[in-house]
Symmetry: C2
Subunit: 351 residues, 2 copies
Amino acid sequence: MLRLNETIETIEPLDNEAMRLTQRRLDSLTKPQGSLGRLEEVAVRIAGITGKYIPDVPKKLSVLMAADHGVVVEGVSAFPQDVTMEMVENFIKGGAAMNVLSKHVGSDLWVVDIGVKGDISGKKGIIHKKIANGTSNMAKGQAMTRDEAIRAIEVGISMVVQAKDQGYGLIGTGEMGIGNTTASTAIVCAFSGLPPSEVVGRGTGVDDEGMKRKIETIEKALDVNRPDPNDPLDVLSKVGGLEIAGLAGVFLGCAAMRIPVLIDGFISGAAALVAYKLKPLAGEYMIASHLSMERGHRIELDMMGLKPLLDLDMRLGEGTGAALAMGIVDASIKIIREMATFEEAGVSEKE
Amino acid sequence: MLRLNETIETIEPLDNEAMRLTQRRLDSLTKPQGSLGRLEEVAVRIAGITGKYIPDVPKKLSVLMAADHGVVVEGVSAFPQDVTMEMVENFIKGGAAMNVLSKHVGSDLWVVDIGVKGDISGKKGIIHKKIANGTSNMAKGQAMTRDEAIRAIEVGISMVVQAKDQGYGLIGTGEMGIGNTTASTAIVCAFSGLPPSEVVGRGTGVDDEGMKRKIETIEKALDVNRPDPNDPLDVLSKVGGLEIAGLAGVFLGCAAMRIPVLIDGFISGAAALVAYKLKPLAGEYMIASHLSMERGHRIELDMMGLKPLLDLDMRLGEGTGAALAMGIVDASIKIIREMATFEEAGVSEKE
C-alpha cells in the first residue's frame, strides 16, 4: 500500500458499530450524558477510525515535512528562504516551538526533508526523502511536475506505513517551508474559486506592501497555470508544494491504515484538502486540531465540514496546533478507558 | 494570612517588569512574533503573577469543594441530592471524570467536604472542613449565615496556604454539589441585575418542566432574600453555597499568595465573581480555562473581562475544564523556558 492509487482504493468508511458501542459506554459513565462535549465526540470518532470501541491510548507521532518554494523570489515572505534550512537545523537541535510542544504531549517527531533547497543529505536526525531542491516559481510556470507530486505524496504514504509498523496510533502533521502560505492560498483559491484577496493572510508577517505582492503573485500563478479544480493532482503540481504533497500522502495513508490524523494549521489544511479532494472519505479520518489566525484555514475546514478543537490565536505551523490537540485526544480516550460507570460506582442515575 | 480581610488587603497588582521581560524574551524566540497567540499571553500573565520572567513549570493542584444545597427540595435538579455524597465516594475511588483528567495533566486532587449533607467524617481521602450539613433552602430564607460564608471562604484561603507550603504553583478549581447551578444563577442575577430566565441553564440536564421550576425558584430566592449587589458577602450568604464560598476563598488566597488559579465552569465562575466583587484586582490572578455550555458562564467571564482558553462544549464541572487547561498553561511556560532564540539557533530574522 505504498502507491497513491492503491492507497486511495483502500480507504473505507468508519466503523459504525464501534462508534455506537462507544457512545453507549460514554452514556453509562458517572457524568450527565453528553456533558464532556467534544471530548466525547472525539472518543467516538477515534473508535470509528480504529474499530475499537475502547481505543488504546495511542503512541503519538508528529510528521514534519520541510520544503522550499521557488515563488519566494517574488517577495511574498517576511523571512528569507534560508530560514527553511536553518529551521530544519533548529528542529534537529530541539530549539523550535514544535520540539517543545511535541515533547510536552509525549509525541515523537519525524523531520522529513522532502524538498529543502540545498544539500543536507549528510545531516543526522532527518529523514531524507528529497524529491527536488524546492519547487519552481509558480508565478512563471508549474511548481512541480505531476510525477514529482505523486512521488511526494507516496513519500507521505510510506511514512505512515513505517509509523504503523512502529506502533504509532495517532499522527500529527506539521510543516516548514518559507513561502508555503502562498502555495496554500493558491490551492484553496483553485479549489474554491475564491479570489486570492479573500483567502490570503500575512503568513509569517508580511507588511501591507508584501500582502499586495503576495496577492498579485497568487493571481499570476493561477492565471499562468490554470489549475483544474476537478483534478486535485493538477492543482497540487501546478500551485502546490512538496511538503504539502507529502502531507497529503500522510492524510491518505492514515485514512487507508485507519490511524487518526490531526490537521495543524493553514498549510497542513491545504494538504488535507488535496487528500479530501482525491478521496472525500479520507476526511472522516481527520481531526481538526485548532483554528489558525491565517484566515484561509477556516475556509479549508468549512470545505471539509470539520470543526477545530482549539482556538488559541496561533499561526506558527510546524505542527504546533496538532501537538497541543494530542493532549485533548488522549484525554478523550482516557475518559472512555478509565471512568467508572454509574453501576460500578454506585452513583444514583438521573431521576 | 488565613482571615478574609487580611487576605484581601494583601492582594497587589501584577509585576509589570516581569511581564515586560517575558514579552521581550518571547519576541526573541525562533518563531514569528506573536505567532503562538494565547500561549504567549498566558506565559506573560504567569510571569506577572509569579514575578518570575522565566516561570518554573508548576507543581499542579486541583481543589474540589463539595457541598449540598437546601434548595434541591424545590425540584431544581435532574439528579437526587444523594449524588453529591455518592460522587465524593467516586472521587475517592478515582472513577470520576475529574480523577481521569487531573491524572492526565499531572495534577494532584484535593477533595474537600465543606458542606456535604450527612456525616462522612470517617472517610479517608477527603479533607474534612464541613461548615454545615448543606445550605438552607434559599427559596425560604437565606442559604447560610454571613458568619458561615466567611468561615467557608477562610477554609478556601487555608487550602491555598497549605498548597503554597507544599510547593504548588498552579491551582485549578472544581466543585460537586447537586443544586449548585441554581445557586450560581442566583449569584449572577444578584450581581448583574439580569432576570433568572436570561441566565439559567439546564445544569445536569433538567427537562422543560424542571427549567420552569428552576427559574421560579431562583426568582423566589431573590425576592425573599433581596441580596445587596454592593455587598458580595450578602449575596454569597443569601443565595450562594458553601462550596462556592470555599472556592471564592481559593481565588482570593491565590491572588494574595501570587499563585495562578484556573476558573473551571459556571459554579467555579460564580465563586470567582464573588472574589472579584470583594477585590477586583483578584481577577488578574485568574485564568479562564474554558467556556461552559451553561450559558451563564459567559456572562460571568464577561463581567470579569476574562476570555476562556478552551471551548469544547463541556458542562460537567468538577474542575474538568480547569484540568484540561493546565496542559495549555504548562505548554506556555515550557515555550518560554525551552525554545531557542534566533541568536542561539543561528536562524535569520525577519527581513
